[in-house]
């Protein structure tokens, strides 16, 4: 037999520990499969199962408690040719439960060997997620109030494509480990074993009782037919390959020269569904096509279909520093919720600030010039109020003009949407002229 074991690093387990059997079983499995050492990595968790990587002459990554599967997944995604084997105890299983579930769901081609010895051997034999309720362990009475988890049952419902369970003293252990490694997809092999340093000191556990436990539990011997599906890496790569278009940055050429353009601060106060962000975008595009610097901040609820939607835009021939609104030149008051969100600004508005207010909207007292418009009367749908307001701004030459607005709409929308938008805009420019 060609051994992968590192002769300079002999096994250091307690006498009688099942981990030794599993180490040797894994070595035999490697030999059986003739895995190239430099195409194989052992990723180990914390605890006595975390010693595995030190015994083998293959690539190794020993990481943080419970997280072994996360490194294994990163390695396998980055290098699909790697044979990735994870060793983890019942401790890692408990603390890293989310990663076990995710691995079962995902089905990346990784083999997880769970070394279940029913307790935390390294820290003093405390109870783990697999400690029997009636066991006597280093946690006083705590395990008597809980029940152990059957990880194989959990893995099955989480979508694992391969689940095996056996005693660590099983004569066919190497073959069973090899079977799990050979499976294309996520495979779990749970081994039951004896922690002679801690657990078996106070609990009756022998290779024979382990065999009995295996017999008493539901049989787990490999492929789970109902969960079969393509391996994640292959599926991922096939799907990703369809994404061929790299999204280039939105870049807008200067097409229009504006004389004497002064810095503008535009605040659009509306609600979800009124396409406030789109309107803000268009104002920015209008500025950009005139070679202006712009900045834009949006404020909307996490429940995106309800609540205020506010867009704050700066347009300036100078480079923009501070991006807050200091002295708005234009305020579009299109909904009460939006106005409420920024109600404090109204008292600060200067007399030359242009406020466009929809008839149904109430605004606080202000010394600014307020133009009221009845969009309902004009039969403009609420979702178009913001867009229609841009038509009025352009007509009056407030921050944008007809030329920059037209250019912005053309750049921002496709042909069809552009035509629809222009209809609304033209309706407004004729209504407000």
């Amino acid at each position: 037999m060609n051994s992968y074991l590192n002769k300079t690093r002999p096994l250091v387990y307690c006498p009688g520990c099942t981990h030794e059997k599993i180490t040797k079983g894994l070595d035999k499995a490697f030999d059986h499969l003739k895995l190239p050492a430099n195409k194989t990595v052992i990723v180990t968790d914390i605890g006595c199962s975390g010693l595995f990587d030190t015994f083998f002459n293959v690539h190794a990554l020993h990481g943080i408690h419970g997280r072994a599967l996360t490194y294994a997944s990163g390695l396998k995604l980055a290098n699909p040719e790697l044979n990735v084997i994870v060793t983890m105890g019942d401790g890692g299983l408990g603390i890293g439960g989310a990663h076990v579930l995710a691995s079962c769901r995902r089905n990346l081609d990784i083999t997880l060997i769970i070394l279940n010895n029913f307790n935390f051997g390294m820290t003093g034999g405390q109870y783990s997620a697999t400690t029997p309720t009636d066991a006597i362990v280093g946690s006083e009475f705590l395990n008597h109030a809980e029940i152990p988890i059957d990880i194989c049952a959990v893995a099955k419902s989480a979508g694992a494509t391969y689940i095996a369970k056996c005693s660590g003293h099983d004569a066919d252990l190497a073959k069973k480990i090899a079977g799990a490694i050979e499976h294309k997809g996520f495979s779990i092999i749970e081994t039951l074993g004896m922690c002679t340093g801690r657990y078996t000191k106070r609990n009756q556990l022998t290779p024979k009782t382990l065999d009995q436990m295996i017999t008493d539990l539901p049989k787990r011997s490999g492929v789970i037919e109902k969960n079969q599906r393509p391996e994640y890496g292959e599926r991922y790569r096939a799907l990703a390959k369809e994404r061929t278009t790299f999204p280039e940055a939105v870049t807008i050429e200067k097409k229009i020269t504006l004389q004497g353009y002064q810095r503008q601060e535009v605040v659009i106060l509306g609600s979800a569904g009124m396409r406030i962000v789109t309107a803000g975008d268009i104002v920015c595009y209008a500025g950009l096509c005139a070679g202006m610097n712009v900045s834009m901040k949006n404020d909307y609820n996490i429940t995106v279909l309800r609540g205020q939607s506010v867009s704050e835009i700066l347009i300036s021939p100078e480079k923009i520093g501070y991006t807050g609104i200091e002295s708005p030149t234009i305020v579009l008051a299109l909904s009460d919720e939006g106005v409420q969100r920024r109600k404090k600004i109204f008292a600060t508005l200067k007399p030359d600030t242009f406020v466009l207010k929809e008839k149904s909207v109430t605004i606080p007292e202000t010394s600014a010039e307020v133009v009221e418009i009845d969009f309902k009367e004009l039969k403009i749908k609420k979702q178009d109020w913001a867009l229609a307001s841009l038509g009025i701004m352009a007509q009056k030459g407030k921050a944008i003009n007809k030329e920059t607005l037209n250019h912005a709409l053309k750049t921002r929308f496709n042909e069809k949407l552009y035509r629809i938008a222009m209809e609304t805009i033209e309706k407004m420019t004729s209504a407000s002229s």
């Binding site: 050492a37 430099n38 195409k39 990595v41 990723v43 990587d53 030190t54 002459n57 293959v58 690539h59 190794a60 990554l61 020993h62 990481g63 943080i64 997280r67 599967l69 996360t70 490194y71 997944s73 990163g74 390695l75 396998k76 995604l77 980055a78 290098n79 040719e81 790697l82 989310a98 990663h99 579930l101 995710a102 991922y236 990703a240 994404r243 278009t245 790299f246 999204p247 940055a249 939105v250 870049t251 807008i252 050429e253 200067k254 920015c284 950009l288 070679g291 202006m292 610097n293 712009v294 900045s295 834009m296 901040k297 404020d299 996490i302 520093g321 501070y322 991006t323 807050g324 200091e326």
Partner: protein, 371 residues
């Protein structure tokens, strides 16, 4: 002329792509989510990998695994995610695993305000891991900086084999703004130094440097471990070996402090006041000082883009000439402690604000004028 229009998060993602990033794993969190969205649309067409972890801990684990396989990796989160990254970060720091982490900061503590900015994590990023080993933290002031600093971050991560943070802020990450993408000159791309000798010991390195790299899965067998290790990557309890490695982890970063120092300055003749700031706040500082200068009150500014390692040489050199030094931060006083430590014989004044809104130029002028 043509201006590009994007938010800081998109700029950061584009910078990462320009740096050669080919792996991203993350978990959605406001205000960092759009970095993830952007990487998800940009990486597959470039042949890169982008995945969503089951949580932040897993995302960082995927990044660590992929980095050890030789990928250039990025992840992005906000304060609550940095908390969850912490144990994995300690691993990456101690075991010299290159990573770039974008922290789009929001107002903390804890869940805090998902959509309100603050420079909440400035000390947390430096000290949020066990053992106190230094990390590199860069801080952008705008979208353009997000783009450029992403490249620097990857370069530093590759050279020093350590996590490098980009401490962005909601007010940069989620603010869309224009900048001239074509006018940018990026630094030359630095790749990880690969081992080329006969016998590879994964942590054998010169006293002030990171060890040369070989990937897990390559021809040569590689060991990586989160445990205290010797040059061979096996656990050691030899105090001399431990001490040497601990010292090297510090020295490799501290000895390069001067070279890692990125900053902007606007030193005015006849000014006796220096405002030190960083990040989005430095923009308001510039605006305030421009106004003050037009009123005949010239004030100098220093905008730090490298916060860790602390640019001590720069602070000493620049601080010396000024009678009055004011530090302004979008928190209640985190980095000012470093500046006071370095400029210990100066009276360093401080103004901080943590209320979910940007510090305004008007407020800064008030602070400067209120002597």
């Amino acid at each position: 002329m043509a201006l590009s229009f994007m938010e800081g998060n998109e700029a950061l993602a584009r910078g990462a792509i320009a740096a050669g990033c080919n792996f991203f794993a993350g978990y959605p969190i406001t205000p960092a989510t759009t970095i993830f969205n952007n990487m998800l649309s940009m990486l597959p067409p470039k042949g890169g990998i982008c995945i969503q972890g089951e949580d932040e801990i897993a995302s960082m684990g995927y990044c660590i695994g992929a980095s050890m396989a030789g990928k250039k990796v990025l992840t992005a989160t906000s304060g609550p995610g940095i908390s969850l990254y912490s144990e994995q970060l300690s691993f990456a720091i101690g075991s010299e695993i290159p990573l770039v982490i974008a922290d789009v900061q929001r107002l903390g503590p804890s869940t805090g305000s998902a959509t309100r900015g603050a420079d909440s994590d400035i000390q947390f990023l430096r000290w949020g891991s066990t053992s106190g080993v230094p990390v590199i933290v860069l801080v952008p002031k705008d979208a353009l900086d997000c783009y450029v600093l992403a490249v620097h971050a990857f370069n530093y991560a590759e050279e020093f084999r350590c996590p490098v943070f980009i401490a962005s802020n909601k007010e940069i990450g989620m603010t869309r703004e224009s900048f001239d993408l074509d006018s940018i000159t990026l630094p030359p791309i630095v790749e990880r130094k690969l081992f080329s000798g006969d016998t590879y010991l994964p942590f054998e390195a010169k006293p002030n440097e990171a060890p040369p790299f070989l990937p897990i899965g390559g021809k040569t067998i590689v060991r990586q471990t989160s445990s205290t290790h010797g040059p061979d990557g096996y656990i050691t309890i030899d105090p001399e070996v431990i001490a040497q490695n601990q010292a090297r982890l510090r020295k490799k970063i501290h000895s390069a402090q001067k070279r890692i120092t990125l900053f902007e300055e606007n030193i005015k003749k006849n000014s006796d006041t220096l405002i030190i700031s960083y990040g989005v706040t430095s923009r308001a500082v510039e605006d305030a000082c421009k106004t003050l200068e037009s009123r005949g009150n010239p004030v100098s500014t220093l905008n730090l883009k490298t916060l860790w390692p602390v640019p001590e040489d720069l602070l000493m050199e620049r601080g010396l000439a000024f009678k009055r030094i004011i530090v302004i931060e979008m928190n209640l006083g985190q980095y000012v402690n470093e500046i006071r430590r370095v400029l210990c014989d100066k009276n360093v004044e401080f103004y901080g604000q943590m209320d979910g809104v940007l510090i305004s130029p008007a407020k800064i002028m008030e602070v400067i004028e209120n002597e």
